[in-house]
Amino acid sequence: MLKFFAMRLLTTVPVLVLVTFVAFGLVLLIPGDPAVTIAGPDATVEQVAAVRERLGLDRPVVVQYWDWVTGALSGDLGTSLFTSRPVATSIGDGLPVTMALAGTALLISLLIAVPTAILSALRRGTWLDRVATVGSSLGIALPSFWLGLVFVLIFSLGLGWLPATGYVAIEEDPAAWLAHIVLPALTLGIAGAAESTRQLRGSIIGVLQQDYIRTARAKGLRARMVIGKHVMKNASVPLVTVLGLQITALLGGAVLVEQVFGVPGLGQVAINAVTTRDLPVIQGVVLVAVLVAVVCNLLVDLAYGYLNPKVRPR
């Protein structure tokens, strides 16, 4: 067990290095002279020179990378080219909001997916199963930002139950926080719920076909016991995998949903930076978002190894 943990932690190190390559490497992908492109078409020679100076683009790439990485390690991700705010501050403001949104969405998606998948798998082939299957395919197919739009039309503009945009921090006013987070989280959670339902249903059906389930039934174990003890325990292992998948998807999907509902999360920071080609901010957001995804996946993997001894090295 310990060996598995150590191995898994060790294999994360190259991934982390790769992440820094990817985030930093973005600057190398800018077509033409990065300083000219970032400064914009109307920039004067002095402005271009200033951008080059500030980003350190006149130095060798390796030196630039080293400075950036060592800065990042000490929490300094540079300053925004447009607002002159430290990138770390902008991200620090946005990240908790996105995490709250993604966390709530994950909770909602599980609350929908787990009961639906169990019912659907146990009543396989019935109308209930068919509704759940078609529903989950539809849930995947609906573009999240469009769904958000429809929710706003119905619940905010139509019924007036919930605010259409904005965000309130949970420590300021929990009730207002809930009112503001429900629609975005539901929007974000539905695609995840659909995906999880499909996966979980499949794995439960797989477990139900196992011999040990037949044995458990044959020896007269009550249905509740069979399902609770044998089916769910074994089907929960793939659920852990699903969780890992969900986290990565939620981080990406949050960008779109935040845009629809005007939630000031990491996605908003990213989009604002993209429209102004604010390179340090883009690099910072990519670094932090990928780090969060990698760490979450690491935790999921460790949980997976804990639950499923088969994957541990001997």
Binding site: G202, A249, V286
Partner: protein
Amino acid sequence: MTNIERPSPAATGAADPATPDLAVAPDAPAASALPAGTVPAEATAAVVHGGGAWADFRRRVARNRGAMIALGVLALLVLVAAIGPFITPADPNQQNLRGVLLDPFTAGHVLGTDQLGRDILSRLIVGTRVSLLAICLALAVAMVIGVPLGFLTGYIGGRFDTVVMRLNDAAMSFPPLLLAIALVAVLGPSLRNAMFAVGILMAPRFLRLVRGVVIGLKEETYVEASRSIGTPPATIILRHILPNTLSPLTVAIAVTAGYAMLSEAGLSFLGLGVQPPDASWGSMIREGFLYYGRSPWLGIFPGVLIALTVFTFVTLGDGLRDALGREERTES
């Protein structure tokens, strides 16, 4: 070192419709390579030409109602994309500032007009081509990168495989949409750049899929036999391995296409994809978003089309996988 032989989240990839399906596929071809018991006449052909599994797969698909309906819908969409510009009721870019934001079912504009008085139905029809071409571009990029690398790493194996797969797993744990946004940000917003980015981010899925198939097939008796009589690797790959990857690849393409469509829509919604005055369904939602208080249908119609198209791809993928899965079941 090979302790990652499991559908770990990093391995099966960043969450999207494509992932779980790709993870299932690699086991299938091992079975599909041996249709011997079922169709004896063609089994010989399968071994000689390597096309038997593919033919079998096609026959099964033809019997799957869901897949056939989905294929029909898809054919219709392709037709609309092909002849769209000739059948629009009005010029999709013709502005008419006297008739902006008209309600659906007004005379001359079945689905109404947008904020510049352009006919929405015409724009939807023309947008079909943009959206479908975007999917094709993303798929092409993903396959050109992923498929050959998958063959290579699966066939060579060893340390090379370990390194490539570790990188691949890492790439798959990145949030794809966010990276696509970052890539578009540095490359400049355009539909081509957006779909290029999406394609790159989907390549690891194809790599993983093809590698799995190749590794499964490498151990097959007939491949070993072929190798033992001195068949060069290139011939083995072309004759024996390539044909057997076709069916799982088809499943992957269907599922990934749905994902590519959603990505295109998302990026265009953010203004990073298609640029005005051109329209894709995603960018039409973006425009509709600005007027949703007054004219909600502006954003509703394109969203419905996107949802229906992705649903078609998902259904097609399910049907195709069923056609694959049956082989698996009869073998085990």
